[in-house]
Every structure is written in C-alpha cells, then in structure tokens.
C-alpha cells in the first residue's frame, strides 16, 4: 500500500492562477521520490498542500490509505510529515539547537531543558549524518548547514516523510554529495523522502521514482532505472533540450573592466579578497571558479559598488569607478544579477512591473519630472513578461506570488533587457528549470556576442565550462590558476586548484590572464 497518496488535487490561487489541476502523486514507503517539472509547474504548491500550508480546491489526500485533511502545518507534522522550504524559515539569531527544538521543546517543569535539547540535537545529527554544531547562532552558518538545521528540525518532530523543496539549488557540488549521504542514511533508517530538483543528473542519482509535472498537471510517474536524462528532459519540457550554447567569434581587444590590487575586508575583519588583478574584455565571458566563500561574490559586489573596498582600483569603461555610486556605475553600462534574488535582487512585496523598472528610475522613458509614466512602465513589463516567458498573471502581480524560477527570470529580464557594457553574474540559473536555463545561458551569451564584457560566478562547474571564454580559479581571495577554456579542460583539473591543492606559477597563468 502506498504511504502517501494525492488524488486529483486542484489548486487555484486567489487572483485566478491555476497552480495544480488534477495532480496525482503516489509515494511508496522507504523511497526517494523525485518531483520534477518546469518553473511554475506547481511542484511547490503541491508540497505546500501535502504539508497543510495551502488548502486544495479539489482532490483528496490519503495517508496509510486513510483520508486526511491538513488544515495547517501543525496537523501535517503531527501526522509525520516534515518539510524544508525552498526559502528557509529559521530564526537567524537563535542557536542551532534552539531552532531545532523551537515549538516542541523538551521541558523541565516549565523551563526549557537546555542540556537535553542539545544532547538530542547532537544525537539526531549523528544518527542521520547531518553534521552541525548545535551551539552557534544560525545566522553564522553557511547555507548548506542551515539546510541541515531545517532537516533536523523536521526529524526532531518525528517526520516519517520528509519533503525537500529544491534542497540542492543553494548547495555547492561537494555539499550536494553530503546531502545525498544524509538522504541515503535517512532512507536506510526507514524514512521516506520527497525531493524536488531541476538538475536531472541529481535526480537520477538519488531517486527511486520520478513524478513529472507540467503546467499544473502530472504528466506521469516513472521508475528512475527506466529513464535517461534525455528521455526525462523530453517528458518535462515536451521537446528536446540541449544545453550546449554556440558562441560567436568576437573582437576581444577592448578592456572594459579592470581590477588592480583589489582587497576586500568583510564585517568580521577577515580579508576575503586579497590582492586581485583581473581584466575583462568586451565580447568575452570570464568565469570566476572557486568553492563558495573564496572571494567570488565579494569581488562582484565590489565592482558593482555594493561593498566598500579596502585597497585597489576598479576601472569601468576607462573611468575610475571606485568612488562612483551604484547608479553612476549602472550609468556606465553595468548590469548585475545578484546571487540571492530574494535578499537583494527583488522586492517581493512590489509588483512585477515595479521590480522591472527599479533600476531605471532616472530614465526619461519611465520617469519625467519626477512623475512615473505608468503606461510605459506597464508596457515595458508586459513586453518583458512575454519575451522572457515569465509565468505570472500580469504586470501588477506581486513578485512574491511567483514560483522560484520565475522570480529569477524577473531579475534576468531586468538586467538583460538592454545590452550592457559590463555584466556581473552570480549564480544565474539557481533553481531555474532546464528550458529557462537554456534561455538564460543563451541570453548571457548573446550579450557577450554583442560586445558585453561578462564576469560570471557559479557554483555549477558545468555552467562555467559551458559559458566561459576564460576561467580564473580563486582560492582564499587570490587567483591561483587561470585557463583559456578548451574542450579538454575538465572539472577535475579545476577541482585541484579550487581546493588549494596546487597553484599555477605566474608564467603558467600569464597566457590566460591577458
């Protein structure tokens, strides 16, 4: 008998977006069940229904063969369901163990039994191979560990079924492997995992069964052993998708941006960028390679003007940019796709149209004499929604109601709707589906072909290798290797430099550091 079954689930959001329309899902006990589908296919909505956050308009849920209704997450948790969200919900100032036990604290009379809480959290984390220190505040942890805290939180409440909504989107490749180890140990100890991801190799590696969704409907359920990446992609998108991008020959003689002796010190006083020299030319994509936290993000932020620099010069389009404001840099032709769309790329409470025009409030096409041209702003949004196939009810919908991948498309659309001179890109396809990944890669490459200088950082090595003309490897804020991208450059080669196991000599780097 199936452990959890959803039959004919329908969900229409207020405002009329049909997110689920006759969805069926059958989860067997002890399996890893992947749910895949394009952005906005309704995966998160289905999971929220299973977890009691959203109420379906139609359909039934069966748990252990008995019909259940979850009016709120509490009831779902009591029934043994746990969920880790696409966007976390931890209390940043609370310690790890406090976050884990919050709401179901072990008590000593009316007081929190601190010792027992810590011991229990430690025991759980060892048992399921989710290594994390119970004492530090959550905000001091990297995302990968925060995610473990989320998982522990669910396990602490005795979840039998664990829903992971795009857990790998925020993880570095190494962390993905660690997560998979944990998932395997969960399943070995009798838990069942529902797993959402866009990267098909991950899905093929970890799951036993796959349910494919498209436009709010389930297209089918297959055994993982019976599909290939290709056939799965075709099932998801309804057509063949190839992730190769063709690049034009470009004139790369003009240096658009250069950084000399850049040093950046973070709020805690540690040096995160330690004397960086780098040139980016028109018509090329330079990939910043490195394990997350080795200075890539800070370099990009420093160039964008979002982070103050300790030392060094930044030149954009032959102007000394170090003292220019964000707006002035944007005026020089800079565009930037930030790493964390929710925290810095969007105002989720504002409408799609407002988000799309936010960087152009000095542009006479949209603002004259301090007054908004609402018609032009709306037309601009409508055009971009169409052009970037953003799935949304209309320009005046709040960005917060969009699916994760569609939010990313809003950011990309805003930054790339006009040809930039210098484009800074950090994790452009995080949480984005295959079709959209292809589209975003195409768009970035187009910008390059038309003469933009592009600086790209990504946790996904295949993305860097697919797009870059040159690659520089950062380790502890320094360049330790540089390559001209050729077909025989492999992730393994890059890996040894990324981990600091070897370093190129200045001569070796020279050729690739023009």
């Amino acid at each position: 008998m199936a452990l959890l079954e959803a039959i004919g689930i329908g969900k229409t959001y207020p405002g009329g977006v049909v997110a689920n329309d006759g969805v069926n899902l059958v989860i067997e006990p002890g399996e890893v069940h992947a749910v895949v589908g394009e952005n906005g296919a309704g995966k998160s909505t289905l999971m929220k229904i299973l977890f009691g956050i959203e109420q379906p308009n139609a359909g039934r849920l069966l748990l252990d063969g008995r019909e259940v209704h979850f009016a709120n997450p509490r009831e779902a948790i009591d029934a043994g369901i746990g969920m880790v969200f696409q966007h976390f919900s931890l209390v940043p100032t609370f310690s790890v163990y406090e976050n884990v036990v919050l709401g179901s604290e072990p008590r000593n009379g009316i007081r929190l039994d601190r010792q027992r809480a810590i011991a229990e959290v430690q025991e759980l984390s060892e048992r399921f191979r989710l290594k994390v220190d119970p004492l530090p505040p959550v905000r001091a942890l990297p995302v990968g560990q925060q995610q473990r805290v989320e998982i522990l939180k669910a396990l602490y409440r005795n979840a039998r079924i664990l829903i992971l909504d795009e857990p790998t989107a925020v993880l570095a490749p190494q962390e993905v492997q660690e997560l998979f180890v944990a998932i395997r140990s969960l399943v070995a100890q009798g838990k069942t995992v529902i797993f959402i991801a866009h990267k098909l190799p991950e899905v093929l590696e970890i799951s036993n069964t796959i349910t494919v969704m498209r436009q709010g409907k389930t297209v089918g359920q297959v055994k993982t052993s019976e599909v290939t990446e290709k056939s799965l992609a075709a099932m998801m998108v309804g057509r063949e998708v190839s992730l190769r991008v063709e690049r034009k020959q470009t004139d790369q003689s003009e240096c658009v941006a250069s950084v000399e002796g850049l040093r950046v010190v973070n709020a805690r006083g540690t040096e995160v960028v330690a004397g960086l020299d780098l040139n980016v030319h028109a018509g090329e994509i330079v990939g910043l390679v490195g394990v997350e936290g080795n200075g890539q993000a800070e370099t990009l932020e420093a160039i964008a003007g979002l982070r103050s620099i300790a030392e060094g010069t930044i030149t954009i389009a032959n102007e000394n940019a170090a003292s220019l404001s964000v707006l002035e840099r944007r005026g020089l032709g800079l565009a930037s796709i930030p790493e964390d769309r929710i925290a810095e790329g969007l105002a989720t409470g504002s409408s799609v149209a407002e988000n799309l025009v936010a960087t152009r409030l000095n542009d006479r096409r949209y603002v004259r004499n301090g007054l908004l041209d609402l018609k032009a702003i709306k037309a601009h949004a409508t055009k971009l929604i169409e052009q970037f196939s953003i799935r949304v009810g209309g320009p005046s919908y709040a960005v917060g109601t969009l699916s994760g991948g569609n939010m990313q498309k809003v950011v990309v659309a805003r930054e790339l709707c006009e040809q930039p001179k210098l484009l800074l890109v950090n994790q452009p396809t995080r949480g984005v589906d295959l079709g959209a990944t292809q589209f975003i890669w195409r768009t970035i490459t187009d910008a390059r072909d038309k003469g933009a200088a592009v600086l790209l950082s990504s946790a996904d090595l295949s993305e860097l290798l697919a797009l870059s003309d040159r690659l520089v490897v950062l380790y502890r804020g320094k360049i330790v290797a540089a390559f001209v991208n050729t077909p025989d450059l492999t992730p393994e080669t890059l890996g040894t430099y990324m981990l600091g196991l070897s370093t190129q000599t200045a001569d070796e780097m020279k050729a690739a550091l023009k």
């Binding site: 379906p56 308009n57 139609a58 105002a347 936010a358 409030l361 000095n362 908004l372 320009p395």
Partner: protein
C-alpha cells in the same frame, strides 16, 4: 494576453473587498467583546452601549465633533502611513504636532497674524517646523545609526515640555496662571464650513492631503523608491536607489504632515489658541488608523471615519453614562490584534464549523488566467 488588465482590476477589487470585510469583521468582534465588558461593568449596560453606537449622530454639534476627529485622525494616519510604507517606525507625529502648533501660534500672535497672511503663514510655519522635527530622527538614524523609535519618542517629550514651558512663560496670555495663550485674531483662525460646529477649513486640508500623499506614493518616482525601500532596502541599494535619502525624506515629509496637524489644532475652530496638552493623545491613534488602512492613503480617511465615530461615541458615553471612555481601549486593542494578525474568514468559518466542506468546484475565474 489582452484580457490581463481586466483580471488585474478584478483581483485588485477582490483584495480590497477581502481587506474591507476583514476590517469590518474585526470591528464586529471588537464591539461584541466591548458589549460583554460593558454588560459586566455598567449598571445600565444597554443604555451605555446605545450611547456608544448612536451618540455621535444625536445632534448637529456631535456630528461636528465626530467629523473634526475624522479630519485630524486622517492627517495623523497619513503621517504614519508615509513612514510605515518606507518601513521606518518613527513615532514622532505627536512631537511634530506640538512643534507645529508652537510655530503656528507665534505667527498667529504676531502682527502678521492679524492680516490675511495669518492662515497661510501659520500653516507654512507649522509644516516647516514639523518637517524639521521629523528630519531630526531621520538624520540621526542615517548618520549615527540612532534607532528612530527611541529618538522620535524622546523628541515627543521635548516638544510637549517645550510647549508647556513657553505657554507658561513666554507667550502672551489673558491672565497670569492660566495655561492657554490669548485667543488668536479671527484672521488667523480657520473659518467654519458649517456654522456652530467644529467643521472648518481643516476638512479641506485633510482631503487635499489624502490626494497629495496618494499621488506622491503611487505616481511619483520618489514614492516608488520609497515603497521599494520599504519592501527591501538592500534591493533598493542594489538598484541604485539612495535608501538613506529616501528614509530621511519620508520622515521629513511625514513631519510636515504632523506640523500641519498642529496648526489645524490651534488655528481650528476647536481652540483658536494654544493650550498645554491640547492634543490629548490623538496623534498616536494615527498608528491604529494606518495599521488598519494597511498604510494605504486612500483607505486612511475611511478608517478614520469609523474609528472617529467610535472615539466620539466613547467620549460621549463617558459623559452621559457610568462607563468610562477607556473602554474604547478594548475595542482598539482587539481591532489591531485581529487586523494585523493573519485572521481570516477561513478562521471564523472554522470557529463555527469544525468540519468544513473541503471539496468545492474549481473556481470559475481560473479558466481566464490560462
């Protein structure tokens, strides 16, 4: 794609309707609880409750009292809405009211006050003084990182005491020992719009202010920047918006509104002079109005209309029966709790119906969105 605007509008109306119903339901629940409280505390509970609900419309004069409250609540509600939309929690309206009133008083009691300039100059001086007073916590936050809640509350005390001090010492008054100034010359007092009531020129100012604030927030780039800062200040910075400038200017603009309210108090029909503690805590009630109106300028006067009615009802009940006006605190507390929490009709339905019907036909509107 062509039918999207229609859906847009439909969904906006839906939201407005939902929010309105929510607020009304909160009001109904609050009144119910109040009734129970009155039932237990009053000797004549029904009479008291009837007073609460009907007293404001019992006479022309009381209608005037009600509308006067609505006008003033509207202005303070707008002032709070402005800073709330920028996600600044400046509590300084009260201080701005006192400072504005002082400025207006100095103009009104000067030789200029006896000329045609008494009203326009008084208002201008009050708004300028209020703006400066709103600017202070803003700049202290921007430059020194001072928490705006704390600094604005401190400034409130300073303004109140300054007003107190000046009325006692410096300003001309009819006789020693009284805590009011001389009456302003007629040319410095807002003319009444309806004879023998408190409804005066302030009503027009309130209506204009609603439109101006709405326009500033939704039709100017300043307003869009302000709202973007309010939604996500980091994103605003990233977009090239100077978030600190926007914060400070929002607090300054809100201060000008506070100053205007000060002038409306002392130059209005109610007083026509400066008295210590003239404001009676009304400025802070703008917080409630702004919260219930969700900081939407066009919703502010509507909320003020309801809330002003209750406020007057409570005060008249206080005078005419044995129930103190403080009961209104119960009403406001419950309304704030209900409106600002995620309470919804689903919740109410569930209260009354433990096993709600789950399966309903898919919403018809759904088809149109595809």
């Amino acid at each position: 794609m062509s039918n999207i605007p229609a859906i847009d509008r439909a969904s906006r109306w839906k939201t407005i309707r939902r929010e309105t119903l929510r607020a009304l339901a909160a009001l109904a629940i609050a009144l119910l609880v109040t009734f129970i409280v009155v039932l237990f505390t009053s000797k004549a509970p029904f009479e008291a409750f009837t007073q609460l609900l009907t007293a404001p419309v019992s006479r022309v004069r009381t209608v005037g009292l009600w509308i006067d409250d609505v006008v003033k609540l509207t202005i303070t509600g707008l002032a709070f809405s402005l800073v709330f939309q920028a996600r600044q929690f400046s509590m300084g309206v009260q201080g701005q009211v006192y400072i504005g009133a002082l400025a207006a008083t100095y103009v009104a009691l000067s030789p200029l006050g006896a000329t045609w300039a008494g009203i326009p100059l008084g208002i201008t001086a009050a708004m300028l003084a209020g703006a400066v007073y709103g600017f202070l916590p803003g700049i202290a936050k921007a430059k020194l990182g001072a928490n705006e809640i704390v600094s604005s509350l401190m400034l409130n005390y300073i303004a109140i005491e300054l007003c107190n001090f000046l009325v006692r010492t410096n300003l001309p008054k009819p006789q020693a020992g009284v805590l009011t100034t001389n009456d302003f010359p007629d040319s410095a007092v807002f003319p009444a719009l309806v004879a023998n009531t408190r409804i005066d020129l302030g009503l027009i100012f309130a209506l204009v202010a609603v439109v101006v604030v709405w326009f500033a927030l939704y039709r100017t780039s300043w307003g869009l920047k302000l709202r973007l800062v309010g939604h996500n200040a980091r994103f605003a910075e990233y977009s090239g918006i100077k978030a600190t400038f926007i914060m400070v200017s929002a607090m300054t603009a809100s201060g000008a509104l506070g100053g205007l309210l000060g002038s409306m108090f002392v130059q209005g029909q109610t007083y026509g002079k400066l008295t210590v503690l003239f404001e009676g805590g009304l400025a802070f009630e703008g917080i409630l109005v702004a919260i219930v109106a969700r900081s939407r300028p066009l919703a502010v006067p509507v909320v003020a209309l309801f809330y002003g009615y209750l406020r007057q009802g409570a005060q008249l009940m206080n005078i005419r029966t044995d129930v103190p006006a403080e009961v209104i605190g119960v009403v406001t507390a419950i309304i704030i709790l209900l409106v600002s929490s995620s309470f919804s009709f689903g919740f109410i339905k569930k209260l009354f119906n433990r096993d709600p019907a789950r399966v309903s036909a898919p919403v018809a509107a759904g088809g149109a969105a595809k």
